[in-house]
Point group: C2
Chain length 340, copies 2
Amino acid sequence: MEKKITIKDIARLCGVSITTVSRVLNNKREGVGEETVERIRHVISDLKYQPNVVARSMITKRSHTIGLILPDIRNPFFSELARGVEDVCNRLGYGCFLCNTDGDIEKEDKYIQLLRGRVADGILFTTQNNVESNEAFLEFQSSGFPFCFIERYIDEMPDVPGVYFDNFNGARLITEYLIDRGHRRIAFVSGPLTTHNARQRRDGYLEALKLRGIQADEQLIVEGNYRYDGGYQAVSLFTGQRKVAYTALFASNDLMALGALQNLEERGYRIPDDISLAGFDHIAFPPVLRPTITTIEIPAYEFGVSSATLLFSLMRGESPEQTKIVFSPKLVEKGSVRSI
Amino acid sequence: MEKKITIKDIARLCGVSITTVSRVLNNKREGVGEETVERIRHVISDLKYQPNVVARSMITKRSHTIGLILPDIRNPFFSELARGVEDVCNRLGYGCFLCNTDGDIEKEDKYIQLLRGRVADGILFTTQNNVESNEAFLEFQSSGFPFCFIERYIDEMPDVPGVYFDNFNGARLITEYLIDRGHRRIAFVSGPLTTHNARQRRDGYLEALKLRGIQADEQLIVEGNYRYDGGYQAVSLFTGQRKVAYTALFASNDLMALGALQNLEERGYRIPDDISLAGFDHIAFPPVLRPTITTIEIPAYEFGVSSATLLFSLMRGESPEQTKIVFSPKLVEKGSVRSI
DNA sequence: CTGTTAGCGCTTTCAA
DNA sequence: TTGAAAGCGCTAACAG
């Protein structure tokens, strides 16, 4: 590793003070002689001098970096989201720290500590945990460090900025869609009910039943985990243990819907002929892959863009008129539901 | 944003010098009085003091961060890889910067500049470009900054550390597999031939033909781009324009194979009944999704782990006995090839 | 238009 | 066993 050249070297070579060099570096007060500017610029590019960003952030107290905390980048929803975030960062000259937590609350805390220790100027945070009862998180939250939730609304913290999805109406929408196609026995796999969005989706499902005058059946409801295996296990429960009858299954996300699908197929059921299937998410797979699942679209990329934009606004110290952004549900028909 | 508490505050509160505090912070020279250590530790945790990592890196010249440069995190191969990288980082107390380039050489350069400006201690680099003829890259390469290539072997730079895949034998393997099942007219879609791995896969394909005494036919070969649309277009060329006959199609990655598949299906061909299909990559989709493509497995996660491990070793200033890691191909049968 | 000076918060000699 | 002092490379008043 060769010796790094510093602002001092440039100053010396140009016969000016480091202040002057710093000025042209930051395009400040173009009260620097046109000719001097040229000379300095020349030497800088000649020597390929790169200002030390660490020294700089020491003073400016800005790292030009944000942290993105999410469960697992391998989940297509999050990689799509991450791309949206990164694109905004990139446009604004910011870097983006990737933090996978697997939903582990300890990792979440650890990353928050790491990031606020001046390595990041702001944090984008996705969690499925009950952060509202986590002391470390509350302390962080009250510290005023700029951050923004993504799809994790917390009733107890109505003032936290964030980007959300209208899960309630999304779930209601797709449940009504099923009912309107003749389904009355609709099995439901929720997300982990510790999270607000899982509860909202469940409530939307229940609301739709109620609106259409259908009695909810506890036997048709099970709590899942938003993972593939959660959907798989749900079917083992419904069809295997509980032996309940149902003509449609609505899983709270596409991944669980696919897991359920696998189990159903293994048991010889065909979709949608024997059982109709609905998901939530609309995770993107190459279009030739089948089957496809009728679902509610959540625009992951736009989530990334919006949340990053909101965060940057917060970081600038602005008070955005809209500190909560809510995306509306859109149903996407993909052939996994049939009328009966 | 409340005032950050610094080492000075701790020192004052403990009635010691900042040097002493610094010592206990870094577990240095446990020649600090046992009792003093206790007192300082106590105050630190009491005040939840977090050392300023920026100030620290100013001196240590380490940011405890590495950069991961890749084309697009949305590509499942890369998100899998990224997870491997991040897991290693996490274990070692490092952070990971995510840099999406879309393969754009300007973005690559930009990120490299950004990262080496002391924001990262090392770089993991995936590129499909001819970096060997990029002046900016060469300058970087010769600067001695720790970095490691991932799956981008460059003939002109045999000494660059990296993690690679035996693309040649992988392509040979799967081509032989096709031939051994009776296929003699095998269409081939390469990756962008500017890259070493695309050339290697093509050469493996050609080698297999040669070994089995089959004359290669230029009409059956087309250069793709590793993207979905590349595979799609290849079929338009083979079947549409060139009107060549073939019983199997081998695409240099799974994504292109899927793109080809879509086009073939649109034209009424069934896989594998009418045409057999082979890919390369083994990108992971939920197992229920069909069709699945017979392919060569590249262990993306392990790639991430290995490359990160190698990079860290380099960063520690070690000279790893193995500065080039090569993964061997494994064929995965997934039913898209039939014997004729 | 340009330079001097004082730090940012921390680690690290060198002394005591 | 502890502390004083000298920076790391840079920016930001404040002068001139």
